[in-house]
Structure formats: structure tokens, C-alpha cells
């Protein structure tokens, strides 16, 4: 599937634990992400992806630890299960059912985030993750691509050095014995960096080719100064907005709340700087990912899935809280049912698999027809 589908999906799936504490929504979201992880793992060649702790095992651990920590340190609530002696600092006092449940929900939130991001990492190859960095971060994408390319050869070099040293009778007994392994790898790496730098220079990397050359150096410097000033102003606004939110009385100036407008101003300025820096970078894509109807359906269903929950939360709908007295959460079908839309990528994966079996060249299908839609 198209990488953008996964970016939208992760945005939706990770938003749920960030905005709600409703156990039903969390459990549904967690179960869906687990199923999606399984579906991705079932793909051919899935075994080259990084290995993960099983989401279920992580969830068990996180829920247990979360419940224990909150139960032992927070002594609020009316359902008292037992009383620890008050002499013990911090954990002494009543152990309440409410605080245990609250802590367990904390663990569930973490587990859901973990398993959602596990799905993303399994589904999208490193190449695409780097390629879809915002254009403004083009230098960072180049450095990351070089680094990711050098990782396998560095591992290989490390093994070669270890074998060579072992032949000479080198043994690992302590931390100091890492030195004869580390230094050759470091020096070898730096030598390769030097060769790479020479090769890149010889091919004219960053030599001012392409569009920027058409403008004078002075104009370029002036425009980057403008970006810097806007960035500084935007960061100042974010800082002021953030600090104002922390003041207990809220930030009231003649009855107006200033923090939100300041934050929005700062965000707008930063986004503008990123957009502007990106617009000066021209790039081409090698092997574009293709859009299909399935992708569009997957994106739409992910957005629709979390929309009711978002609207409900930001209109001030009461989230679930076990305090002050433990009560069963109410299940709202209008919030829970749409979440199933997050399952769409499973169908997408199967549809894509069916196409690749039928068509000989998977990467080229629909290439020209869909090209115009991509930017």
C-alpha cells in the first residue's frame, strides 16, 4: 500500500490513546492494532522487518506495572481494598480500587501506542520513511539515508575486525578489550566518510547547481535571514503561549485568554518556515509509490473512524474516570463502532496481495494513470 496510507492510519490510531481514557475505545483500538500487526507479519518477506516484543506481552507488562505504581502511590478513592502501614513513606496508606484501575488504563494507553507504532514500522520500509520526510529537512534526509546505507556495511566491518582480532588471540574479558575492536571500525568508517566526501564533491554535491544558482547569493542570504527571524518570532510565541498556560490563573488579559492565539501564531510561523524552506528544494522521486482506489478508501475510513471520538472529546464530552467511586464505564456505540474503520488496511493488504499475484510487475501498475495526483 501507499506509505501515506500508513501515515494517516498511524495518526488516527495513535490519536485515540492521546485524547481519550475511555477503556472501551482503548481496548478496541488496541485489539485493532494487534490484528493489523499480525496481518502485516503474515505478508511474504515480513521476516526481514525488525523483531518486536509481542504487543500482547508488552500490554500485560504495561498494564500490571501501571496499575501497581498508581495503586501504591496514589491513595485517592473510596473503594479501599487494604491498608498499608502509614510508616512506609509514600506507599503507606489505603490501596484503592480506583487508583489501580486508573493505573491500568495508563498502561493500556502506552500499550496501544506501542502496538500502533509497531504496525507502522513493520509496514513501511526505511527507504519510504526517509523519503517522506518534509522537504525542508532535505539535508537531514540525505544524512539519514547515508547513515542507513552504512549500517549493514558497518556491521559487516565490525564482524570482520572481530574475526581478525580473534585470530590474533584477542579475547573479550572486560570493557577495555572493546578498544581493539572499536578503533579499527571507527577509523575504517572515517576513511569511508572521506572517500564518500570526495566522491560527492566530485559529483558536484551542494555546489550550487540547479535553481538556487539563478538567484544572487545576497538575495538567498536575505531570504534565509527572513526565515530565521520568522522562526525566532514563532518560537517566542510558542514559548509565551506555553508559559501562559502553566500559570494557575490562566492567562487573562482584559478577560481574553491569550495562550491559545499565541500558540496558533507560533505554530503558523513555524509551519510557514518549514513550507518555505521546503519550497526551495527541488527533488525527483525514483520509483514512485502508486495510488490505488484501495488506498483512498483506507485513508477515508481511518479518518472517519476517529472523527466521532474527536468531536465528542473536544466538545467537552466527559471521558471515563474511575474517581471518586469506581463505576462501570458506559459503552457508547456511536464512538466504538466507527473505530472498526481502522481495520481497513487489512483489507487493503489482501487486495494489494491479490493484485501483485495477478500482475507481473507490482511497482509499475497504475503508475502513469495516478502520477498526476501525487506531488
Amino acid at each position: 500500500m501507499h506509505p501515506v496510507v500508513w501515515f494517516v492510519w498511524i495518526g488516527a490510531a495513535a490519536l485515540v490513546p492521546l485524547v481519550t481514557r475511555d477503556p472501551f475505545s482503548l481496548v478496541i483500538d488496541f485489539a485493532i492494532t494487534c490484528v493489523v500487526v499480525d496481518a502485516i507479519r503474515a505478508r511474504p518477506f515480513a521476516d526481514i522487518a525488525p523483531a518486536f516484543a509481542s504487543p500482547l506481552r508488552f500490554a500485560l507488562f504495561a498494564v500490571l506495572v501501571g496499575a501497581l505504581f498508581n495503586g501504591l502511590t496514589s491513595h485517592v478513592g473510596e473503594t479501599i481494598l487494604l491498608r498499608l502501614p502509614d510508616a512506609i513513606p509514600l506507599i503507606g496508606g489505603p490501596l484503592t480500587g480506583e487508583s489501580l484501575i486508573y493505573g491500568a488504563i495508563n498502561g493500556l494507553i502506552l500499550a496501544t501506542l506501542f502496538s500502533a507504532f509497531a504496525a507502522l514500522t513493520l509496514a513501511v520500509p526505511v527507504r519510504d520513511l526517509i523519503a517522506y520526510l518534509p522537504r525542508a529537512f532535505y539535508p537531514i534526509a540525505v544524512v539519514s539515508a547515508i547513515a542507513a546505507t552504512f549500517v549493514p556495511s558497518s556491521v559487516r566491518q565490525f564482524q570482520q575486525v572481530r574475526e581478525a582480532q580473534a585470530i590474533r588471540g584477542h579475547r573479550m574479558r572486560g570493557l577495555r578489550d572493546w578498544l581493539p575492536l572499536f578503533m579499527p571500525v571507527l577509523i575504517g568508517g572515517l576513511e569511508r566518510a572521506l572517500q564518500l566526501a570526495e566522491a560527492m564533491t566530485a559529483r558536484g554535491f551542494a555546489a550550487g547547481g540547479g535553481e538556487p544558482q539563478s538567484r544572487s547569493a545576497e538575495a538567498r542570504r536575505g531570504s534565509s535571514t527572513l526565515s530565521q527571524v520568522v522562526l525566532a518570532v514563532g518560537l517566542g510565541a510558542v514559548l509565551a503561549g506555553g508559559v501562559l498556560r502553566l500559570l494557575p490563573g490562566g492567562a487573562k488579559w482584559r478577560g481574553l485568554d491569550l495562550s491559545l492565539p499565541l500558540l496558533i501564531l507560533g505554530a503558523t510561523a513555524t509551519v510557514w518556515v518549514v513550507w518555505r524552506a521546503g519550497s526551495q528544494v527541488h527533488h525527483t522521486r525514483y520509483r514512485r509509490s502508486t495510488w490505488t482506489g484501495v488506498d483512498v478508501v483506507c485513508i477515508l475510513s481511518a479518518v472517519v473512524a476517529v472523527l466521532p471520538l474527536m468531536i465528542f472529546t473536544f466538545r467537552g464530552g466527559p471521558g471515563y474516570s474511575p474517581y471518586p467511586r469506581l463505576a462501570l464505564p458506559t459503552f457508547d456505540l456511536r464512538l466504538g463502532l466507527p473505530l472498526l474503520g481502522l481495520l481497513a488496511p487489512i483489507w487493503g493488504l489482501q487486495a494489494r496481495q491479490a493484485t501483485t499475484q495477478r500482475v507481473e510487475k507490482p511497482d509499475r501498475t497504475g503508475f502513469t494513470a495516478e502520477e498526476g495526483r501525487k506531488s
Binding site: I146, A147, L186, L194, L196
Partner: protein, 292 residues
Amino acid sequence: MVDPAQSLRRARLLRWAIYGLTSLVGIVAFAYPFFLPALASSGGSAHAVDSPLFLGLLGGFSLIGLLLEAQGDAASDAKQTALLGVLVGLNAVLGFLETAIPGPGGFSPIFFLIIVGGYIFGGRFGFLLGSLTLFVSALITGGLGPWLPYRMLVSGWIGMGAALIVPLNRALRVQGTKWELVPLALYGGLWGLLFGALMDLWFWPFAIGPETQHWQAGVGLGDTLKRFLAFYIATSMVWDLVRAVGTIAMLLLFGAPTLRTLRRFARRFVFTVVAPAPEARPGIPEAREGNA
């Protein structure tokens, strides 16, 4: 006409303003959880719902600002790009070894190279080395998640701050002697502990939740700090101590040869492209002065 010295001074001022502001935004993001209970008890519970989201946004802004500012040099210099790329890759392999062969506790070899790199090649380089190491190793080992911007920000700070040891060492007159490793080791040990504490802070709004204290009167900053301290000692203290000791040991044991090697390569990385006369070859850019 603009006076070049003045415009240079203005550019430096602007750059320091951006660095200062991003760091302050980051500090606010990390300090935010401590203020939540006090906020909630004063009736500001409207912030309760969106606090993890808000926290993430603040951290993100800080990171975006720093990355935009720090990447400028790398963009215009093939040598910096290549050196940074290879060092990040090498360091990501060290991080990879850490996950493949788990060492004791929170020991992680990646901070060694980040600190030494920032010390030798300067603050911007150190920042990029720190944050991109965690980015690339997250890409490879599958460590993507909402915690990544925080990890990138803090490890970038580690590399950036290491550059500040250069003037310190110069003032102490230990540069180039074997004593120059002592401030570096102390710095590494300090960050070994601080890194864990700051990462706990990311997790903290989930662990604490403002509603917990909502029903207790008079809960303030002090009480939150006390609970955080307990959380830290219970969950991370031993783990972080191992990391701190490990980083100190690495800096003391490997520091001297690594510094020597990096300094040698810093000199070797100064090469200049001498193009033929520009009018003869219009496509070739003018010769640039190399400075690493």
C-alpha cells in the same frame, strides 16, 4: 551597503536567539507535567484532556526549530554531510549492538560518540549527530513512536552541550593533555542520569494524570516532585546509574585514542576543490575554501 562585520554579528545574534528559544520551549515541555496537578486543582481541568498532545507539540516545535537551524551547514558541505552520515551510521550500529547484546542495565554506548563528536566538531554537528543517531537507530530497530522527538531532542542537547566543554577546558588549560577527559567524563555521567530522568518525564503525564490529585486539597508542585522522585528511584535509578557509569568508563578508557583519531581526520577533511578557470568551464562552480 551593509557592513559585513555587522551583518555577521547580527546573524550570530539571530542564531543564538533561535538556539535559546528552542531550548526554553523544550524545557517548558519537560517541566509541564509538574504543573499539571496544580492546574487541575485550580479549576483548569480543561487542560487535562489534551495535555499529552500539547506536550508533544511543544517538544516537536523545539526539535523542528533546532533541526532547521542546525542542518544549514550540512546542506552546503559535502564533507560535513558525508562525515555526519557515516558517524551516525556507526553510532546507530553501536545502538543496534546494544539491543542485540543487552548490556547490564541502561548501559548504552551511543552517548560516547555523541559527546566526543560534539566536543571535536562543534555544537551544531554534535546536535545533529545526537538526534540523528536516535532517529536512524529507531528506523532500523523499530523504535518509532511518540517518544522519539523527545529522545532526539535530549540526545541532541547532549551533543550540543559537549561543545561548551571546549572553552571550559581552554580556561582550565587542560586541552590536549590527559586531564581533558575528566570534564568530558563528568559531563557524560551527568547526562547518563539526566537522560533517563527526562525520558521518564515524557512518560509522566500518563503515569500521573491530573485527576488523581483532583480530589486532594492543597496538592502543589512540591508533592508532584516528591512523587516523581519516588517514581524515578523505583523505576529508573539503578538503570540510569549503570548508564552513567558506563559512559564515564567509555570516555576515560576510549577517550584519548578516539580524540586523537577524530582530530587527525578533522585535519584531513580540509580539502579544497580547485576548479579550472571559471570562464573555461561554465558549469563548474567557483573554488571554495574548505574548512571543517
